[in-house]
């Protein structure tokens, strides 16, 4: 079970004077159960790339295989792909439209051919997974807070029981506590439901903490595709792409240069704290 992109390219304004390559000859394999961070500055091609993954954009050249089948084969049902590869857009709460929370979450499964019972089970299950209590299921989405609305929107995609969940900057515009809440939620979903997560993010701190694999895209091409520690070794190249390494990693690297005996690969504040404490002989 996997998603494979094989040498795909996509151009905007094909055949006009404004032709620009958004995705250039990208080859990518996404096996089951990974938590992937996809990073790159605005306009690097991230959003175009993820829209290929559930067939919203068709590549100009190259092939996409889902569980071994070419998704543009004439026998392949794109609707199945779209159920199994869920895409949560930026500011997904803008897409809530029903009068109650439960109706909104049911919309996906109802349209994906679930039976009434299956759809309801999936919807309740999804709301539970995102931490929306039963007291809110009949509320109007308009009455919810920003963080709650976003969780309902994610539940709407989750209710289709996807195998891969792609989220385009799911924490944009949330306060620090709201950001942590959403990210911990994704981690929980990843672990409990064994769903592959692809997290598009601008926050190096977040991908460093949550992702097992980081893909860096710039100018429509993949520059790095590796575990976080390896990717953040390329500090200078990342800077040139308008990206940064996490602040705590910057700190341990500078300390190392000044002669402190710290681990220069720390990715989270906890690791950094422990490493500095050890260096100073305190616990």
């Amino acid at each position: 079970m996997s998603l494979i992109l094989d040498k795909i390219s996509y151009y905007y304004g094909k055949g006009t004077a404004f032709e620009t390559a958004a995705v250039k000859n990208i080859t990518l394999s996404i096996p089951d159960g990974e938590f992937i961070g996809l990073i790159g500055h605005t306009g690097s091609g991230k959003s175009t790339l993820i829209q290929h993954m559930n067939g919203l954009i068709k590549p100009e050249s190259g092939n996409i295989y889902f569980n071994g089948a070419d998704i543009y084969d004439k026998d392949f049902k794109l609707r199945d792909l779209r159920r199994k590869v869920g895409l949560v857009f930026q500011y997904p709460e803008h897409q809530l439209f029903e009068t109650t929370v439960i109706k909104d979450v049911l919309f996906g499964p109802n349209n994906m051919g679930f039976t009434k019972l299956e759809a309801e089970v999936a919807a309740y299950d999804a709301l539970k997974a995102v931490g929306i209590g039963e007291d809110l299921i009949d509320a109007s989405p308009l009455e919810l807070s920003g963080g709650q609305k976003r969780r309902v929107a994610i539940a709407g995609v989750l209710a289709c029981n996807p195998e891969i969940l792609i989220l385009d900057e799911p924490t944009a515009g949330l306060d620090p506590a709201g950001r942590t809440e959403i990210l911990n939620l994704l981690k929980k979903i990843h672990e409990e439901k064994k769903i592959t997560i692809i997290l598009v993010s601008h926050s190096m701190e977040d991908v460093a903490r949550y992702a097992e694999r980081i893909i860096v895209i710039d100018n429509g091409e993949i520059y790095f595709d590796d575990e976080p520690r390896k990717v953040f070794e390329h500090e200078d190249e990342l800077k040139k792409m308008g990206l940064e390494i996490p602040q705590c990693t910057q700190l341990v690297r500078k300390l190392k240069k000044c002669g402190f005996d710290v681990d220069e690969d720390c990715l989270t504040v906890e690791e950094t704290l422990a490493s500095i404490k050890e260096c100073f002989g305190i616990n």
């Binding site: 500055h41 944009a172 306060d175 620090p176 709201g178 601008h202 700190l251 300390l255 504040v269 616990n283």
Partner: protein, 284 residues
């Protein structure tokens, strides 16, 4: 420059028949005094009232109780609205919602044109505003092809062309990448330093407020903490209660201090912490 005197703002919720269901206090007796040339930052969780406060500054909202003065002008008096909006400009979160023209220079000139500035002067103002935001090279480009950070700088230029005394930025960097965030913060910091424009910055990114003169922390419609960034960020635990965090290095330094290392009370940057730790070793 901006003065809030016991400002309260209430949203009234009504049911389908128009009966009052409840009243939400979005602002609760806010007192705020921003001096000309200040750079202030406002922090707070989603729903704490930050944006409601910002919308009072250029009279998009009027207080239910209390008074907002923009340089002596009361925002409740409709006659003052035009001059208040000339003095205070607003930049919002989404760069794509604020640009209306198909060419950068036309977008920047939209404001002055609407208040009847003579054509020759409009072009002078546009040129100057683009210069100050570093967007001169994009003058004749379509805004569609700009990055998020560049679009926000065009939005700022559009306000500059109105020759404002104060710019209010409501989460201007929430949708930008790290490079775009830096561009925007650098631009407003420079406008504050060189032009003396008062800046009121609302943000969720703690690293962006490190350079502010004063930071206010809001919760449930009132101001809970105020002080310099150093004073505010030394209260790591209190901030967490208000659903906020501190820059990563500040958190690490705070924990090290708790563990017994003799570090300064509040560390704001990587270099500060490196220096402080170096000094510790020299003393040993």
């Amino acid at each position: 420059m901006v003065n809030f005197d016991k400002v309260t703002f209430e949203y009234i919720r009504r049911d389908e028949d128009g009966n009052v269901e409840g009243i939400n206090k979005a602002l609760d007796e806010i007192d705020l005094d921003v001096k000309k040339g200040d750079f202030i930052a406002i922090l707070g969780a989603n729903g704490s009232g930050k944006s409601t406060l910002a919308r009072h500054i250029n009279a998009l909202l009027k207080p239910t109780e209390g008074t907002v003065y923009i340089e002596e002008l009361d925002t409740k008096d409709e006659k003052n609205h035009l001059s208040i909006r000339e003095k205070t400009g607003m930049v919002f979160q989404n760069p794509d919602n604020q640009i209306i023209a198909s060419i950068v220079e036309e977008d920047v000139g939209f404001g002055p044109e609407n208040i009847g500035v003579p054509t020759k002067e409009i072009w002078e103002r546009v040129a100057e505003a683009l210069e100050k935001t570093g967007m001169t090279a994009y003058r004749e480009k379509s805004p569609n092809n700009l990055s998020g950070g560049q679009k926000q700088r065009v939005a700022i230029a559009g306000i500059l062309a109105m020759k404002p005394d104060c710019i209010v930025l409501d989460e201007p960097t929430a949708m930008l990448d790290p490079e775009g965030r830096k561009e925007v913060i650098k631009t407003v910091t420079e406008l504050n330093k060189t032009e003396g424009i008062t800046i009121i910055l609302i943000t969720h990114y703690m690293t962006e407020v490190v350079g502010a003169d004063k930071v206010y922390v809001m919760e449930k419609g009132s101001i809970k903490l105020q002080g310099t960034p150093r004073q505010i960020f030394s209260k790591v635990e209190t901030l967490a209660e208000y659903k906020l965090d501190v820059p990563q290095v500040t958190w690490i330094a705070h924990q090290l201090r708790k563990a017994g290392l003799k570090l300064p009370e509040c560390v704001l940057t990587v270099d500060e912490l490196v220096e402080a730790l170096k000094e510790l070793v020299q003393y040993d």
